[in-house]
Symmetry: C2
DNA sequence: CGATTTTCCGTTAACGATAACATTTTAGCA
DNA sequence: TGCTAAAATGTTATCGTTAACGGAAAATCG
């Protein structure tokens, strides 16, 4: 009766078996594994040899049970098929690995509706040392979390969410991004600057919008609500929004679009309506996804370093885990940058 | 000396404290938590009340220690800022949550160079119940894993990798995708069909190429190696590849591009060289990323349901975990589908 | 050379939970 | 009412590891 390759009768090698094979106590094995000083050189060598030959790997969960820390982080994220969130996750992973932490991942199926209490309990059941909340702040979706905070037994950090007192937060300066984008359009001599925003329930979308308003105001332009259209981040919505916008306000000669996907849709509409970009209509996006440089025309946009956001967020959280200060929760804010390409430069 | 909100002196509530508060043994608490029958109704109710009021959450790691299963899966992935891999991950998460599993995530920084042994040990140290290897097969990068397999104490499943005997694998039928794409171009009356492939070290790229070859051969066309250019999946490489291809072979009137990003780059080159798409040059991609429909012109492409790939992969793995059959490793193969848009249809 | 320190290693208990078994209480029935 | 079976609960051992302590052997020293 031949067994297949995947014969899982093989069991985990435990510290006891190693101890038995080496003829010493488990404590000595533990000491060798953890590189402690009080082991005789030749004993250490012998034990190491046994460990190697048996392929012993200490159990992190047994260890975490007694030491009270698991060296793992609970990550809550959303929308990883978008470039930004996926980069954030990548950044988190980089820092985590570098600092010796593993990740327990939860991807929310819906960023607005979830059971924060349940979610956090789930992660705590695995004894994560901290929680990194990397899902966007939308509508009132933060309320449920806030309620849990007082009961939470580990540090938590928030990414891409509105900073709150005594809470660790790292964000991209979306407001600044909105201002940079709008300023650039103004500097190009554009007179009527529309806005295609993401859902206003998203905090980040509102911040970008705010930047647009502020910059217009700073240049003495008045802001008319009919210059705004509300998309849902998808290219399709960008297409529809620009169509509506140009119908209401044919004089529009520039749009700030709140992400690159919607900008792509807008470019398509412009083409269909016979508006030349950038001559008749300047288009600027937000994100700088890798494809943006290959759009037609190449998209001017606001670059945000989302990978760095993930890195600093994880770094902050780990710092908080390893030396908990009473209130060391300085909010971090990363500046975005203008990337000029063809879609806003005529002539 | 005021302490901040994040005062983590709060500790985990243990089963002992619950037992103490309820005036029963820990075993009774355990029985209630696990919904076992042999608890008197009123005791159960009482205990449940205490649990609720104390906010008790049983420790999954203590449980996993004694029961030998953690209800967690180890996921190894790569390149999640690409649409496909991120969707796979999403699909895995969906199935995992539905079946009560949590995810330990590892994102490889490099898909070719890694220490498989170290990686697997790391995951096993957390007692994952199974491993889902969702990183692509590139060059000889599978060798290291194969070596570890005999020592591995948990089931492992592979996604997007070449099926091997007695190993659980789920893939998209890339070869079929290549054939569908090429067939479509032939049916459109194209005579000289080029190929822009991904790195041939990638198994998936080779399969797509194979489909292209087979379909050409099936129609009696001969395959000339000078009709092939080698990209790196990026839009920039697509741009360069098409330029080279048209230099070598100006008669080319269609290209099958092995992913949508490179196709985007190819569209740009065509525009710059004054080749009209689709009239002078038909372009077909692979993946069907959400933006493809908004390219200019809208991209005909091969859709692959990567989320479903993640779902079935996770499902298979969990099945294997929960009722280990000696050799129930039927490779799964998901068919892709042709999505016709503007970039291949002239007139 | 005996006393003291240092080095090395072992023993016991504990982390938080459950399995397996043991015991008590209650119910069922003649 | 007494006896047995069933139901409800408690006890002890265990998972794999480390903390805390203790003890023996070797090294140091006057």
């Amino acid at each position: 009766m031949e067994r297949s390759v995947r014969d899982s009768s093989r069991k985990r090698v435990t510290i006891k078996e190693v101890a038995g094979a080496a003829g010493v106590s488990t404590q000595t094995i533990s000491r060798v594994v953890n590189g402690r000083a009080d082991v005789a050189p030749h004993t250490r060598q012998h034990v190491q040899q046994i460990i190697e030959s048996l392929g012993y790997q200490p159990s992190k969960i047994a260890r975490s049970l007694i030491q009270g820390q698991s060296h793992s982080l609970g990550i809550v994220t959303f929308g990883i098929s978008y470039y930004g969130p996926s980069q954030v996750l990548q950044g988190i992973q980089e820092t985590a690995v570098a600092q010796g932490y593993s990740l327990m991942l939860t991807i929310l199926p819906d960023a607005e509706i979830y059971n924060a209490r349940q979610l956090m309990r789930e992660m705590l059941a695995y004894h994560v040392d901290g929680i990194l909340w990397a899902a966007p702040e939308i509508g009132q979706n933060r309320d449920g979390i806030q309620q849990e905070l007082p009961h939470l037994s580990v540090p938590i950090a928030f990414l891409s969410a509105q900073p709150r007192p005594h809470q660790m937060t790292a964000v991209i300066d979306n407001r600044l991004g909105g201002r940079l984008a709008t300023r650039h359009l103004i500097e190009q001599g554009r007179q009527h600057i529309g806005l295609i925003t993401g859902p206003i329930s998203w905090w980040e979308a509102r911040q970008r919008e705010l930047g647009w308003r502020e910059e217009l105001a700073a240049h003495g332009r008045d802001v008319d609500e009919s210059f705004i259209a509300f998309g849902d981040w998808s290219a399709g919505s960008g297409e529809r929004c620009l169509r509506m916008l140009l119908e209401w306000r044919p004089e529009i000669d520039a749009v700030f679009v709140s992400n690159d996907q919607m900008a792509l849709g807008a470019l398509k509409t412009a083409r269909q309506l016979g508006r030349r970009v950038p001559e008749d209509l300047a288009v600027i996006g937000f994100d700088d996804i890798p494809e943006a440089a290959y759009f037609y025309p190449a998209l001017t946009t606001i670059r945000q370093d989302t990978a760095e956001l993930g890195r600093v967020g994880a770094r902050q959280l780990i710092t908080m885990i390893e030396n908990p200060e009473p209130n060391g929760a300085e909010p971090l804010c990363l500046p975005p940058a203008l990337v000029v390409r063809e879609s806003t430069i005529s002539g």
